[in-house]
Amino acid sequence: GHRGPSWPSLPSAADGLQRDKDPQQSPGDAAAALGQGAQDMVAVHMLRLYEKYNRRGARPGGGNTVRSFRARLEMVDQKPVYFFNLTSMQDSEMILTATFHFYSEPPRWPRAREVFCKPRAKNASCRLLTPGPPAHLHLIFRSLSQNTATQGLLRGAMALAPPPRGLWQAKDISSIIKASRRDGELLLSAQLDSGEKDPGIPRPSPHMPYILVYANDLAISEPNSVAVTLQRYDPFPAGDLEPRAAPNNSADPRVRRAAQVSGPLQDNELPGLDERPAPALHAQHYHKHEFWSSPFRALKPRTGRKDRKKKDQDTFTTSSQVLNFDEKTMQKARRR
């Protein structure tokens, strides 16, 4: 067990987060940065681990990560049940140990009328008897999968020796947490059953129980691991793999091209390409450069690859500029 915070009493909850004056913060500043949250013991515990690491470089629990989980208190069948949501644990975090921390309230002094007296004794000595510590304390853990009732699957039950009052207790629950995580059930409930008739209804207070999980994050040495857990906004919303084009650019950088079709096609010629040379008799294979460099080149019948290659060289250098026309066209030309 351990008492409350071991350093000077925590500063009153600072409203808002104060900016640090120097890089090495004193616990007070860090606690003030926690604001209201600094009052509960889990925050105090985490601050203490942080200070210990900063002062001595002591790896908390031998790993590089400590996650704390606050309890949410609910009454189930008139009994207080504490719920823990462990879903924020990362898959890359290998659990080393886990501990459950709870506080046993100091005895409440009975009120005057509850003074216990020995019945019918001569000198009834009305001594103030305080109720002793509970005979035993049972600690019961259950894991809840999404669709079970509040009961869930029993994960562990411990009978604890009656804890001294007014102290914090810590119990190792590593096997329970590891088993729950293995089964993918990261919603846990814990019940502290002291066997007292009316244990009274606990109120949420700084003394709420909490869980600490010490882990080794195997991904922490990956480049940019700090962004995985600390960068909360994403400059590029999910699913948009490429950086969005600047708003003033058109949505799609490519220019849309389409031929303006002016009414039904009379012929199969492309509009706007009327300077094409007269259609050759044997519209056969021709090279692009032949077509565009001199549209009036004689089209040669297709030859074998080898001599075509040779021929291409020839035609490219010494081809004549004369075209072959049909007889009728030649007659017309002669007459003209």
Partner: protein, 110 residues
């Protein structure tokens, strides 16, 4: 920064998490001394820039001009330190993580 040495060396940089918008969930530290590396790795490189063998060869090849377009080696962090960060996760639970390579101890030419 003006009187900084030309040669590759560690320069002072204090990072304030409020400047990068992370201060809402980072409890502590609010800022830390990160430093950075800058400066020349030109031939001949002094020992202080602790060049790797490859960087030495590269700077000679560049100086001799055998192969055009070879840049001089880069001035980068050599030894780095971890930083413990206390922050709130999405469920506002307190988390402590010790991130490696968060601040520069020494720089070198690579």
């Amino acid at each position: 920064q003006w009187d900084e040495p030309r040669v590759c060396s560690r320069r002072y940089l204090k990072v304030d998490f409020a400047d990068i918008g992370w201060n809402e969930w980072i409890i502590s530290p609010k800022s830390f001394d990160a430093y950075y590396c800058a400066g020349a790795c030109e031939f001949p490189m002094p020992k202080i820039v602790r060049p790797s063998n490859h960087a030495t060869i590269q700077s000679i090849v560049r100086a001799v001009g055998i192969v055009p377009g070879i840049p001089e080696p880069c001035c980068v962090p050599d030894k780095m330190n971890s930083l413990g960060v206390l922050f709130l996760d999405e469920n506002r639970n307190v988390v402590l993580k010790v991130y490696p390579n968060m601040s520069v101890e020494t720089c070198a030419c690579r």
